[in-house]
Amino acid sequence: MPVVSMKDARKAFGGTEVLRGISLEVERGEAVAIIGPSGGGKSTLLRCMTLLETLDGGALSYGDLAVATEGASGRSVYAKGEELKQARGRFGLVFQNYNLFPHFTVMRNITDAPLRVQKRPAGEVEQRARELIAKMGLEGCEDKVPCQLSGGQQQRVSIARALAMNPEILYFDEPTSALDPELTAEVLRVIKGLAAEQMTMVVVTHEMNFAREVADRVVFMDGGVIVEEGPAEQVIDAPREERTRAFLTRVGE
């Protein structure tokens, strides 16, 4: 069973259709990169999958948990609060601009939600946090607040914060586009490490080299539809569709 499954997703903002029938499934252990021009619907897709936006039409489920089903009229019908809450426990999201809690220390940024939301035991949460801090190369930053960290460190904290919830799937919304090139590298290295450990993830990215190296599957989105998808070698290096080719030429691939 796929970790997440989206069927015929549609979303419009005030008459402008941003998603026009997107179907996407992600299997356990799979890394999917979503590429495409700005305004093509990539971020909206991620926001719908993470329940920050509601779909107008189509279905969305996390494993056996139906989050939104397609009603008789074709409009999405969302599950009740309790199920949505359960679904939120299954994914994590890393934002483009981190969105760390500025008044919390690094440690508390990572441990607060597992303690308060998931009500896990303090000892276990703290141990997990320390593991993640080590894994993200953030030793010594435990008691610092986000404003004392570089952008790359902040983004690694936000990855740790998401992982501390033990999600089944992790979403990244352009995780490096707010970073300088040298800081980009350290964040990409961490994400590559996660992919190597078979972490299920969906990464919206502008980094074609990164997509090629990390992704099992690359999805090219434009105009609210999936134009082309397949293995990176195929979509990035030998695109079949004219629109994909044009986009890749523009970004210099």
């Binding site: 999201l93 934002f95 969105n99 809690f101 008044h103 308060r116 607040v145 986000p146 919830m165």
Partner: protein
Amino acid sequence: MVQMLGEGFLTSLQIFAFTLIGALPLGVPVALLRVSRFKVVRGITRAYISVMRGTPLMLQMFAIYFMPYYVFGIQLTTDSKWQAAIVAFIINYAAYFAEIYRSGLQSIPRGQYEAAEVLGYSKAQTFLYIVLPQVVKRIMPAIGNEVITLVKDTSLAFAIGVGEMFSTAKALVASQVSMVPFAIAAAIYWVFNFAVELVLGRIEKMLSYYHD
């Protein structure tokens, strides 16, 4: 003379304390109603804030003092003045505090709410643990301004005959034909506000361990 002024100051201090104790919390629901989803609620709250900020506190005190008698025919007692003053101060300052809270609330970036939502925080948890502490830091300078203004505004209670420090000073000036009582009163207001500034500075320093 200093003793009389001191007693007057105690009354001023009570007005000050009761107003803060009443208005600081009351401002919260007012701010929330001000950004309510319901247009009518928003409109009424907005009108309330507009009247409170747009008319003199002194007139509001008169209105509240005399309303029970003229509208409901209730006989005024010796406590009425004091009660009217406190009520007027609280509902007036709550309007100002509400606007400060609203500006603070609206200055918190959307991303904070979204991060909390994705992590599964409930609405109440998001407000209490994520938003509120950040709002407090952002609004401290504006709150400080109001608190310092309030110290001096307590003298307005003089208008309906509450015997706070300014009334006492004025009476002393008349009886002694000397401006000294005014000078002493001014010094007391200033010294007290100096202490208030120290406390505010301490709080701001406590919150300065981070910036965003």
